[in-house]
């Protein structure tokens, strides 16, 4: 068993991949708690798909990918809010429209510029190809997100629980809302190479959802979520190594299976 776990780590690329998977697991599962409690799973999906045109645009103009991705994520959340307020459609409809539109735009740009990166890897991840520089960027993004959440935990709880009240007491609700949107975009970019933008939503939803089955307090919920997030990323990575399957697929699948197992366990 130990041998089974150690053997892959004799390779440099696997050590880098493991570190990346852990960082991504930690970051995504911290945010996951609030995504689940605020009911932002679909919105998260829209943001992750909208990161694609941002990345493609940055690639085309040689801009930093992180910047392009973050801007696109925020623009997507603004668009969802705009569609919702300017028409009578419901939130899920607004999200559906923005999600597909943005993703299509991304594909159109990519097909035109023909970037050197493999589109398949952007969409579904390729953690085995992570370079040490990529790991550094992922770690930096993860650090920023987790730091912000821990510093402003009380404000984030207040906002995700009751935004109207947060506004009434005089906190900057727009700032909090869009900071969360930016954090979601940064997490998605951090997870780009691990699970890819199509599958990242699994790490933003499954850990928090699993945690909600068991936790009685928010502290417990964070703890369970972190455990599930890190476990899924690491277990998925090993599965991907041993069975030579897509890392993004393996990680997302593990997270999903963990949720279903937990649900069955809970029912009994």
């Amino acid at each position: 068993m130990i041998e089974f776990l150690i053997e892959p780590l004799t390779y440099e690329f696997m050590r880098t991949a493991l570190a990346t998977a852990v960082v991504v697991g930690l970051t995504a599962s911290t945010l996951s708690v609030f995504v689940v409690l605020r009911g932002w799973s679909l919105l998260g999906d829209a943001i992750s798909h909208s990161v694609l045109p941002g990345l493609a645009f940055s690639a085309a103009f040689n801009l930093p990918l992180t910047l392009g991705g973050a801007v696109a994520g925020v623009v997507a959340s603004l668009l969802v809010a705009l569609v919702e307020s300017r028409s009578r459609v419901r939130n899920d409809t607004a999200i559906g429209i923005v999600l597909t539109g943005a993703f299509a735009l991304g594909l159109v740009i990519i097909s035109r510029i023909r970037p050197t990166v493999d589109v398949f890897h952007i969409l579904f991840g390729n953690v085995l190809g992570v370079s040490p520089q990529d790991l550094l960027l992922t770690a930096a993004l993860g650090f920023v997100v987790i730091l912000l959440i821990s510093l402003f935990m009380k404000e984030i709880i207040a906002f995700t629980f009751d935004p109207l009240f947060t506004y009434v007491v005089g906190l900057p609700t727009n700032l909090i809302h869009y900071s969360l949107m930016i954090m979601m975009s940064l997490t998605i970019i951090a997870a780009l190479q691990t699970v890819g933008i199509v599958l990242v939503i699994s790490l933003l939803v499954a850990p928090g959802a699993t945690a909600q089955l068991f936790a009685r307090t928010l502290g417990q919920m964070l703890l369970v979520s972190l455990t599930v997030g890190v476990f899924s990323s690491v277990a998925g990575l090993y599965l991907s190594y041993y069975f030579a399957v897509s890392s993004g697929g393996a990680i997302a699948l593990t997270a999903t299976l963990v949720f279903f197992s937990a649900m069955m366990l809970k029912r009994r």
Binding site: F161, R216, L218
Partner: protein
């Protein structure tokens, strides 16, 4: 000083005029009931006063200034709380949110915070403080939001139908709490459909039918002609005159 001063307040939703040139002045340290039939603009009035709905015309001041300067000093308890009841927070946690502005960023609300425990006690829910939000009855949930508003240490309390859906004892209790707050110089404005003798407890009654029908002492504002104008029905007016008799106003 006046707690609320509205001048020609007009609010439109599309083509519908929810408030039509409403003007009134509410003195500090008073309790005002806002009455009117469904759709008469009661909730809209409160939402306008907290800055959530922007008036199309007219202006208003709260606590002698604009709402943007006074935010935090104004507490608001909506008609229906639209929160996720499964959020893993205890009663204490929710009430402690009222302290969020006072405590400031980068610091948690201390477990022994005096304002929080006092608010819990005054709302009569200290025994529930470690219960989870999802494990409470509707009336209990409502008191938590009142406690949260008190923890905010606001000077003006805007409450949308707080008497709806609670039993007689809880109603008495709530009205006691509000009277206490008034004694401390706080101002209370609440909407209600309860056209009973309860209204006699208030300093002023504001009768609304999208435009202002009457504003003044209960016995003045609740005159039959005002009620007929607001509710358009002799029956309600009759009912009200009953109330007036019970209250001994004649």
């Amino acid at each position: 000083m006046e707690a609320v001063k509205a001048e020609g307040l007009t609010v439109v939703y599309g083509r519908l005029k929810a408030l039509d040139e409403v003007s009134f002045t509410i003195p500090s340290g008073s309790m005002t009931a806002v009455i009117g039939p469904n759709g008469s603009g009661k909730s809209t009035l409160l939402k306008t006063l907290i800055g959530l709905v922007k008036p199309a015309a007219g202006s208003f001041k709260v606590l002698g200034s604009t709402i943007d300067k006074m935010r935090g000093k104004v507490a608001y308890v909506p008609q229906r709380e639209e929160v996720y009841w499964e959020y893993p927070l205890t009663v204490w946690d929710v009430v402690a949110l009222g302290r969020i502005k006072a405590v400031g960023p980068l610091r948690p609300v201390r477990k022994g915070d005096r304002v929080v425990s006092q608010s819990l006690e005054r709302a009569g829910i200290e025994s529930l403080q470690s219960r989870r939000l999802s494990e409470l009855s509707g009336g209990q949930q409502q008191r938590i939001f009142l406690a949260r508003a008190m923890a905010q240490e606001a000077d003006l309390y805007l409450m949308d139908e707080p008497l709806t859906g609670i039993d007689a004892e809880a109603e008495d209790r709530l009205l006691d709490i509000l009277s206490d707050l008034r004694k401390e110089g706080k101002t209370i404005v609440m909407t209600t459909h309860d056209l009973s003798s309860t209204l006699e407890l208030f300093d002023n009654v504001l009768v609304l039918k999208n435009r202002l029908i009457a504003f003044g002492r209960p016995e003045e504002a609740l005159k039959t002609e005002n009620l007929v104008q607001a509710y358009g029905s002799e029956r309600v007016a009759m009912h009200l005159s009953d109330v007036r008799r019970v209250a001994g106003w004649r």
